[in-house]
Each structure stands twice: as C-alpha cells, then as structure tokens.
C-alpha cells in the first residue's frame, strides 16, 4: 500500500516537475524543477530496490550535473526570459503525444517474459550495493574503466572548452569585446 502511494505520488510529481522544465520560459525555474524531478526519480529507484543506483542518481545528477548546470548558468544571462519562436507547436504536440500514446500502447500490451532469464540474478539477503559491485567489477569491468576514461576526457574537454578567455566576461555587453579588439588593433 505504501508502495502504491509512493509510486503514484512520485509519478505525479515527476511528470509535473518535468513539464515545468520543458515548458517554462525561465531558465532558473526550469533548472530548479529539473533538479527536483531528478531527486524524485531517485525515489523510484529506492522503491525498486536499486539503492545504489538511487544514491548514484542523487550524487551524480543532483549533485554533479546540476552543479555543472548552475555554474554554466553563471556564464549566461539567466534572469532574462528566453524568447523562442514556437512555430509548428501543433506538430510538436502531435509528435510528443503520438510517441507517448504509442509507447504506452506498446508497454501496456502484455509482455511475454517467459523467455527472459536473469543473467545476473540478484541475491536474497545480500545488499544491492554488494551485488552491483560484484557485477560491475567482473562482467562490466572493461566498460566501467572505459566509462571512467570517458569521464576524464569529458572533464578535460569541459575545462578546455569553457576555460578559454575566462578573463572575459560573457554577461556584459559585447561592446566591451569590441573595445578590447580595437585596442589590440591600435597597438
């Protein structure tokens, strides 16, 4: 009973929050609701018994990713409302709606699961983190290492891409840039 309530609560909340993320004109609102949605999704993971995944979700998404976004926001003007041309919104809603309907249809259809056998079954009485650790460091060791390298690469890439001309302000108007350029030319 507790599980049902939790599921519906989380579902309603995440859908609502993500809708705000997608619809909102304000970047700050969007980001905040996204972060909240992420937290609630970790709730799903806890319900599902994937404790470790839930924790990772919290740490990585809500902690790291959101932090990245918030830092990135500092480069841009987050206070301004975003002006977008929303052409063809009918098509967009149609596509979104259609995909939702079709996906739901597919998933709602009975899934024949007889043929599916667990390759790496969970063990009763053993913690999720332990299970995950065993699989991650045996079967998925190589992908895990690759993922680690990828994260390193991404980090370096992020620093290099964002780090150029850090001395210049992005939020001030571009005229300053031009001034600098003209000064350089003058020299």
């Amino acid at each position: 009973m507790y599980e049902i309530i939790a599921f519906y609560l989380f579902s309603a909340l995440t859908i609502g929050l993500f809708l705000i993320t997608v619809m909102s004109k304000n970047v700050l609102y969007a980001m905040t609701s996204l972060a909240a949605g992420m937290v609630l999704i970790s709730g799903f993971f806890f319900i599902l018994g994937a404790d470790f995944l839930g924790v990772v979700q919290l740490i990585v998404y809500v902690g790291a990713v959101m932090a990245l976004y918030s830092f990135a926001m500092m480069f841009f003007d987050a206070t301004r409302d975003i002006k977008e041309k929303n052409t063809n919104s009918a098509l967009i809603f149609l596509l979104g709606g259609l995909s939702a309907v079709v996906l739901v249809l597919i998933f709602a259809a009975p899934i024949h699961s007889d043929a599916i056998q667990a390759l790496y079954p969970m063990h009763e009485g053993v913690g999720n983190a332990q299970d995950v650790g065993i699989v991650l460091f045996t079967k998925y060791l190589v992908p895990f290492e690759v993922a680690a390298v990828m994260l390193l690469v991404a980090m370096i890439a992020g620093i290099i891409l964002a780090g150029k001309k850090m001395d210049q302000s992005l939020t001030e108007d571009m005229a300053a840039d031009d001034e600098i350029m003209t000064q350089k030319d003058a020299k």
Binding site: L91, L95, S99, V102, L103, L105, I106
Partner: protein, 631 residues
C-alpha cells in the same frame, strides 16, 4: 582436269586482282588486254572441261578446302563441273570474254578504265563460284558476290548526281546500285531461309546429299524449302514484285548491262531452279506457281517494253520478259529447255546490249530512241548485229531464239496449261514488235539526231570483230539443240512432248511465227518510215501506265521507302530519344531532383533536424507497434 577447273575459276580472280593493282592509276590499255586474255584462258579451260564432260559423260568434282565447320555443319569450298555447270561456265566465260574485249573499246575514254576491269573480272569470278559450287552455301557466296559486283558496276559512275524521278526514272547510278543491292538482299533472306530448312532437315548443304535425302522429307518441308529458294531466285532474276531494280540497273555502263543484267547474273535464279530441279520436281504446286509467275512476268515486262523510249530499258524489259519464259519452262518441268533458252538468250541479248552500247557510244550517251533514226548509214555493222539479235529474240526461224522459245511455248501447250500458252504466244508477238520498233526507230527513218548536233560514228573495228562470235552464235546456236538435249539430259530430267503435241508441233510453231512476223510487220509499218508521234495514243491512260512501269517504282517509293524513312525518323526522335533515353535520364533526373529537393531539409537549424528525427522515430515506433500487433 582439276587444274582446268581451278584455271577456269581463278583466271578471272587473277584478272580482277591484277586490274585492281592499277585501280587508282590512270587508264592503261594493257590492263584491259591482260584482263581479256585471262578471261579467254578461263573460257578456254571451260570449253575444254565442256568437251571433257561431253565426251566422257562424267563430271569433275574437286574440293579445295574446308570453309565453315561448326557444330554439325561442314561447308567445303567444293566445285562441281557437270553438264549443267559446264554449260553455264562456257556461256558465262564466253560472253564475259567478249564483253571484256568490247569494254576496251567502249570504256576507252573513261578515267576509271582499270577499275572497271577489276570489277568486271571480279563479277565473273563470283559468277563462276555461283555456277561451279557443289553446295548451296558456295552458291550463296557467288550469289552475294555477283550482287556486290553488280552494286559496284551499276554505281560505277557514282559521281553522278541524284535527280528527280521525272528527269531520270532511276534517279542516279548510285541510287540504282543501292536499290539493286537491297532488293536482292530481300530475296537473299528467302534463300538463306531455304538453306536453313535444308540444313536442319538434311544435315548438309551438299547438292548430292540434299537431293538424295529429299524423298525422305515431308511435303510441307519440301514446299517451304522450294518457296524459300525460289524467293531467292526471284530477287536475282528480277521477277515480279522484285523487278524494278533491273531496269534501273541500266544506269551502269552498257557492257555491264550486257554481261550482268542480261546474259549471266540475272539468269542465276533460273540456274538455281534448274540446279535444284529434284526439289522443284517434287513440289508441283510451287513449280506451277513458278511457271505462272514466269508467264505473267514475260507478258508484264513485254507490255512495258512496248512504249518505252529508252534504248537500254527496252532491252532490259525484254530480258525480264525472257527470264519469265525461262521460269515458265523450268516451272513446267522442262529444265533443259530452260537452260537452253538461258544459253541462247545470253548470246543474243548480250549482242543486243553491246549493239546498244555502240549506239550509245556513237550518240554520246543519248538513249532516247525518239532522238535517233537513220543510224544505218553510219553504223552498218551495228545495225546488222542488232538486227540479227532482234531476229533471234523475236523467234524468227533458224535463229537461236526460235528454237528455244518455241520449245517453251510448245511445253506450255503440252502441259495443258492453255492459258499460259496463249499468254506466251501473245508475248512472243509483243516481243517481236518492241524489238523491231527499237531497231527501226534507231536505224531507219529520218535522221532525227541531227537536230541535236550529234555526229555518230561506228565503233572500233576490233570491237565489232569481238562481237562476231555472239552474232554467229545468235544465228546458229539453235541448231545445236539436239545435241544439247542429249548432253544435259544426262543430268537433268528428260522432257518429251506428248504424241499429240508432237503431231501438231508445226501448227503451234506456225501460230507463234504468225504472231512474231505480225509484230515485226506492225513495227515496220509504224516506225520504219520515220517517227510519227501519236499524241492521242501517248496521252491515253494505258500508254501512260505502261510508260510509267505501272507506277510500281513510284508505289514502292511512296509506300515503302518513304514510310520506312519516316518510321525510322520517328523511332529515333520519338521512341529512342523521347521514350527510351528519356526514361533513363528521367531516373537519373528523379534521383538528382529528389536529392535536390531533400536538400531543403538541410536548413542548418538543429531544431528542424530534431523534428525530422522525431518524425522518423515516431514512424519507426508506429511500425514496431503495428508489426507487433499484426504479427
């Protein structure tokens, strides 16, 4: 004997090659002399072979080498000298030799003198292959070979311009040459089909093998083969409806007309029917058709000759008519009579043409007999020769034509085909009329040529001498009829008149004679005193119809050549360019345009790309859902 065969065959070839060496150099008389001597050697060899065959009664058969060998087919270059072929060889080489010598005189002003001899000898070589071959394929080599030589020789004066049909019915020498070649090709297709039929049913194209296998074949195959071969014969012998090329072929130099289009090549069709007599003897329906067609052509051609004004064309029509006689005889089963008429006709018709050549030479290539007259004074010998030949052609007793033609008419009576007999008799009268109309208009009466400022002169002496063998043969050849029959019937089936026919033969002969003499008399009355033009007659429908050759050349032009050209044009411009090629280009254009069109999708706007991606994704989802539901 084998060497003689090769000498007879290859002497003309050597002559041709020798002349060809000088083909592009200016006129050299010795070329003509060498060519003529080589031809005479060929004639001598042929005569010796004839003597050999005549005395021993055996035939000479040589196989030179294998030609084509593929699958089960083996075609050798084999040559057979028997009674039929040796007759043809002798006639061909004799007339050829005379014509060669004649040409030295006739072509003496022509800058392509050497080239002419090369072609002429090549023709003789082809003709020798045609008559000597021991198989149908070899015959076909000669058949096509004479066709090409005929093309070369008709178009000898290729530099002449095309003119309208009203000005010159055969447009130009090169046009006439092409017409002749193409018409012959139509018939050659029939001939080829005949060869195929025989091969696939007999397994060989050798005469002896084919003929001995004939009794085993079914009637329909025999008929098909006979019809196909006869179609081939119709082309070469210019039978209706493939006859128009022969008169147009008169564009060629006159010696060519004498040799090719009178004495030898055009008789190849008759030769084929005689050669394949076992086949035709087994197909009475086809044979009767041949006889009927021959009779029709005899009359048809004679009718056109009645009103024609062109010296050579009249003779050409008469050739056509005489070929009809030969086919009539062959079709009625009297093969040896056909062959006899072929030989006799070769002599007097060649003589007639050569005489016409003399007149042309004298009249500076004027051919309209209405512009001649009175030439007897300056061209006595030519007059005599042409008179003799015309007498022979008309079938006046004791000249060559009398015996042979009479025999044919008698055969028609003997076979009970009285309609054919009647037509042939009437045609004999017409023959006499047009022959003498031509002779009288040319040689007698008022000297109309003077109005055109022409000063005619007699031909060179040696030319006249060279023509004399033909003249003599035209007079006396008929007397050899008995021994000829004896000679060739060793090979050809004998033909005997019935008791009844034999009984009344003299009456039949008399009837023919009455018609012939009547024809001559009519011609004499009308034309000997000079030309009196009868406007009313000349404007009558029949006269115009005949003068325009029943409008058949025009019909062919309007209903075959022109539509073919138009259809070709349409095939090219509309079908090939606008349908076939346009389809291909259309596919290419479609690919290009679809690329060009879809290029607009590349707006560079990521949002649009995302939209497209989503559309694709959703579509795939839908497909997945549908297939899951349906599957």
């Amino acid at each position: 004997m084998e060497n003689l065969v090769y000498i007879a065959l290859f002497a003309p070839f050597v002559s041709s090659m020798f002349s060809a060496l000088f083909g592009m150099s200016p006129r050299q008389t010795f070329v003509g002399i060498v060519a003529s001597s080589l031809l005479f050697i060929s004639f001598a060899a042929s005569a010796m072979l004839a003597f050999h065959v005549y005395t021993t009664g055996t035939s000479v058969h040589v196989t030179m080498m294998e030609w084509i060998s593929a699958g089960d087919l083996t075609i050798p270059f084999g040559f057979l000298v028997d009674q039929v072929s040796v007759t043809m060889m002798t006639v061909v080489t004799l007339v050829s030799t005379v014509v060669h010598i004649y040409s030295i005189g006739y072509m003496d002003h022509d800058k392509s003198f050497n080239r002419f001899f090369s072609y002429l000898s090549a023709f003789v070589f082809s003709m020798m292959i045609l008559v000597m071959s021991d198989n149908f394929a070899g015959l076909f080599i000669g058949w096509e070979g004479v066709g090409v030589c005929s093309w070369l020789l008709i178009g000898f004066w290729y530099h002449k311009e095309d003119v309208s049909r009203e000005e010159n019915p055969s447009i130009s020498p090169s046009w006439a040459a092409n017409e002749a070649f193409i018409m012959n090709r139509i018939a050659d297709l029939g001939m080829l089909v005949g060869l195929f039929i025989l091969y696939w049913n007999v397994g060989s194209l050798q005469y002896d093998v084919v003929f001995s296998a004939l009794p085993n074949l079914s009637g329909s195959i025999l008929n098909a083969a006979a019809v196909a071969l006869f179609i081939g014969a119709m082309g070469k012998s210019a039978q209706f409806p493939l006859h128009t090329w022969l008169t147009d072929a008169m564009e060629g130099p006159t010696p060519v007309s004498a040799l090719i289009h009178a004495a030898t090549m055009v008789t190849a069709g008759v030769f084929l029917v005689i050669r394949a007599n076992p086949l035709f003897a087994m197909t009475p329906e086809v044979s009767f058709f041949i006889a009927a067609l021959g009779t029709f052509v005899a009359f048809f051609a004679a009718s056109m000759a009645l009103v024609n004004r062109d010296l050579k064309r009249i003779i050409a029509f008469s050739t056509l008519s005489q070929l009809g006689y030969m086919f009539a005889a062959a079709g009625l089963g009297a093969y040896w009579i056909a062959l006899f008429h072929l030989a006799a006709h070769a002599f007097f018709k060649a003589l007639l043409f050569l005489g016409a050549g003399n007149v042309m030479h004298a009249m500076h290539d004027e051919l309209d007999i209405f512009k001649m007259g009175g030439l007897k004074k300056v061209m006595k010998w030519t007059y005599i020769y042409m008179g003799l030949a015309s007498l022979a052609l008309a079938g006046i007793p004791f000249f060559a034509g009398f015996f042979s033609k009479d025999a044919i008419i008698e055969t028609a009576f003997n076979e009970g085909t009285l309609v054919l007999w009647a037509i042939l008799v009437v045609t004999a009268g017409m023959t006499a009329f047009y022959s003498f109309r031509q002779v009288f208009l040319t040689f007698l009466g008022d000297e109309r040529y003077k109005a055109f400022g022409i000063h005619p002169h007699e031909m060179y002496k040696f030319v006249l001498v060279a023509m004399s063998p033909l003249a003599i043969l035209a007079m006396v050849a008929g007397f050899g009829m008995g021994s000829f029959e004896h000679f060739v019937t060793k090979l050809l089936p004998e033909y005997h008149m019935s008791e009844h026919t034999h009984h009344i033969a003299w009456i039949l002969g008399l009837v023919v004679l009455v018609f012939a003499v009547g024809g001559i008399w009519l011609a004499y009355k009308k034309y000997a005193k000079g030309l009196k033009r009868d406007e009313k007659l000349e404007n009558s429908f029949i006269y115009k119809l005949l003068a325009n050759q029943y409008y058949i050349p025009q019909l062919y032009g309007e209903f075959i050549s022109k539509p073919y050209a138009m259809l070709s044009e349409m095939m090219w411009k509309n079908v090939d360019m606008k349908i076939v090629d346009a389809t291909v280009d259309g596919i290419a254009k479609f690919i290009y345009k679809s690329g060009d069109g879809s290029r607009k999708m590349q707006t560079g706007n990521l949002s649009n790309y995302l939209n497209w991606m989503a559309v694709g994704g959703v579509l795939l989802l839908v497909v997945a859902a549908l297939s899951a539901m349906l599957g």
